[in-house]
């Protein structure tokens, strides 16, 4: 335990302003470390965040370094964690609470929707809620029930909340620091299946962090994804390239506000789009993305926007997980449907 703590924090302190190859878990840990160092009003808390360092070790070593008043364990009660965040924000703190797993955000929905999202409005801007709620999100790790949910549409639908999801270590590092620096509540959805994937992180330059990002340019079709699905879409793009299909992959990153301009630019160029997400189809964020694309690209679209998503079923057990999450074949079929579309 102490060895991993040391290793994690050293990775976060010895490579300032340079490129480093670390996992998303390390990137997030490093970002939190730097946020805590830079802003004395920041507090990190949740279930098992302290001595254990979080069940995913995202807060590993932070309590030892920053003290028990800055990084602390709470009783096991999500509404309490989020309601307490409201009071701390009212007292001038910058809370970075964690709910341990996505499904455990449900017990806190009252505080998230009725309180965190509305307090700025209710108080006519006098009580901002600079809360960054970290939510280990999405499936793919064969976890028990309620440990793999895709809540982005639910959160994005709530006025007063912003929602972002990083897809790689570089973005995880920079987006978390950016989100924590903003004066509004941000739901930070961490793709837990990507925690242990390594990638290059340029700590000195985060680039533009406010909108979507093209992670692979292409000419024939745009795949729109976020979080864990970005990596899968990149795999799909590689395979499609073997058949001469040049796929552009757009990492939406911000699920609210959605970068409508980036969608318009990309699909304006490729004229075809497939949205990929793990969440159920009906009333999912794919519908919102498809509408935004339709609105800006209706005249030039060569096919209706296609969606490849999870199904309208409760998130299934591990044995069925691979059937539920959009896999490479389903995404390729979605691409095929769009490419082969013929007007009635």
């Amino acid at each position: 335990m102490s060895e991993s703590t040391t290793a994690t924090l050293e990775a976060g302190t010895t490579t300032e302003s340079q490129r480093t190859h670390i996992s998303m878990q390390q990137a997030l840990n490093r970002a939190l470390d730097e946020i805590l160092s830079a802003d004395p009003k920041t507090v990190v808390f949740g279930e098992d965040c302290g001595q254990l360092g979080g069940v995913f070790r995202i807060t590993d070593g932070l309590q030892a370094k920053h003290g028990e008043s800055r990084v602390f364990d709470t009783p096991l009660a999500e509404s309490g964690i989020l309601g307490m965040s409201v009071g701390l924000a009212m007292a001038g703190f910058h809370p970075i609470p964690e709910v341990q797993f996505d499904g455990f955000a449900y017990p806190a929905i009252n505080q998230i929707v009725c309180q965190i999202a509305r307090m700025n409005y209710r108080s006519r801007g006098k009580l901002p809620m600079p809360i960054t709620l970290r939510v280990p999100s999405f499936g793919g790790i064969r976890a028990p029930e309620h440990h793999g949910e895709s809540l982005e549409a639910l959160f994005a639908h709530v006025p007063g909340l912003k929602v972002v999801s990083p897809s790689d270590p570089h973005d995880a590092y920079h987006l978390l620091k950016y989100a924590a620096s903003r004066p509004d509540p941000v739901i930070f959805m961490e793709p837990k299946s990507r925690y242990w994937q390594k990638g290059d992180v340029d700590t000195s330059d985060g680039g533009t962090l406010t909108g979507a990002r093209i992670v692979r340019p292409g000419r024939h079709l745009t795949l729109v994804a976020w979080g864990a699905m970005v990596a899968r879409c990149l795999q799909v793009a590689e395979l499609a390239a073997e058949d001469g299909i040049d796929v552009e992959v757009l990492d939406l990153r911000w699920l609210k506000p959605i970068d409508a301009q980036a969608l318009a630019t990309s699909v304006g160029k490729t004229r075809r789009a497939v949205v990929v997400h793990e969440a159920p189809l009906t009333s999912g964020l794919g519908a919102e993305v498809a509408q935004l694309i339709t609105q800006s690209c209706f005249d030039t679209l060569k096919a209706p926007v296609e969606r490849v998503t999870g199904f309208d079923v409760p998130y299934p057990s591990g044995d069925l997980e691979d059937e539920y999450i959009p896999n490479i074949d389903r995404i390729l079929l979605g691409i095929q449907r769009v490419l082969e579309y013929r007007r009635g």
Binding site: P75, G80, C114, A260
Partner: protein, 345 residues
Amino acid sequence: MDSFLPAVAAADAAPLASEQLRELYSLMAAVRYLDTSAVAWQRQGIIPGYAPELGQEAAQVGSAYALDTARDFAFPTYREMGVARTMGVDMVAYMSTHKATWHGGMYDPLASRLAPIQAVVAGSVLHAVGWAHGQTLSEEPGVALSYFGDGASSQGDVHEAMNFAAVMKAPVVFFIQNNGWAISVPTERQVAGGSVAGRAAGYGIPGIQVDGNDVVAVYEATRDAFAHCRAGNGPVVVEAMTYRRGPHSTADDPGRYRSLDDERIDAGKDPLERLRERLLAVGAADEAFFAAAHEAARIEEELIRTGIEALGPRPGTEMFDFVFQETTPALENQATRWREESEHV
């Protein structure tokens, strides 16, 4: 219910001076006048709705009187008009929530030290705990005063708040106004065990049940609870036993769930009348004082009513202005479209 407060609480427990007793009466009279007037305003169409606190003047004035607005912070639900008045909140701004001008009221919560009015009744109890813990982290002396009722105590957030506060030794006073009714449901059908203060023991928190119609008793219990918190001993539960003499709101019909006879019997003695008798008994006030207090309350009510009537509707753009500190392109687009379409209508 016994008080379990340690001796530290009683250290500065000087009895209230005559001047303070008179001030408490003046506050209660102002609150009574404004409260009954607000019901009349609703009947007259000046405001669309109101949640009266008739009978709870002693609980609200007495508790808020113990609060120091230089360092403490109160967290109300929607029936704390007497608390707001005692804290010196701009009452036109406070009443504007009942005028349907703005959810949460128009007062500045930071300047007034009163959190925005809200209807999810246990939601703010956790906010009080978070704010109180912030005092601990900042090494500041403030105490959070969390107001809620017997009905709210059924919600899980109250349980979580008491547990969090006890674990963290947060300086928060949980002040329950047990007014006997959660809209139409009486306490015995709402609070298992019959006492919210009784639950405090389960969290290792001192719990006090106090006569909520005795303003001096309420003040002293709250003052002791504040001293307990400020000395670093963690939270306290104070349950003021009172009675909601009026309806839940101006939309409510108490005749469907209780009779006038029941009301008379259960409500007990009027808290204003009790203080009046006390003042007379100790020679702290005379009839001229009471007459002057009521005249002042009448004049104050007139001023507030005039202010309320003068409140125009808010400009529609504000609907979009306060969603975020940093707005979004989508919201800007919606505001633009709203402006364009409004102009066409």
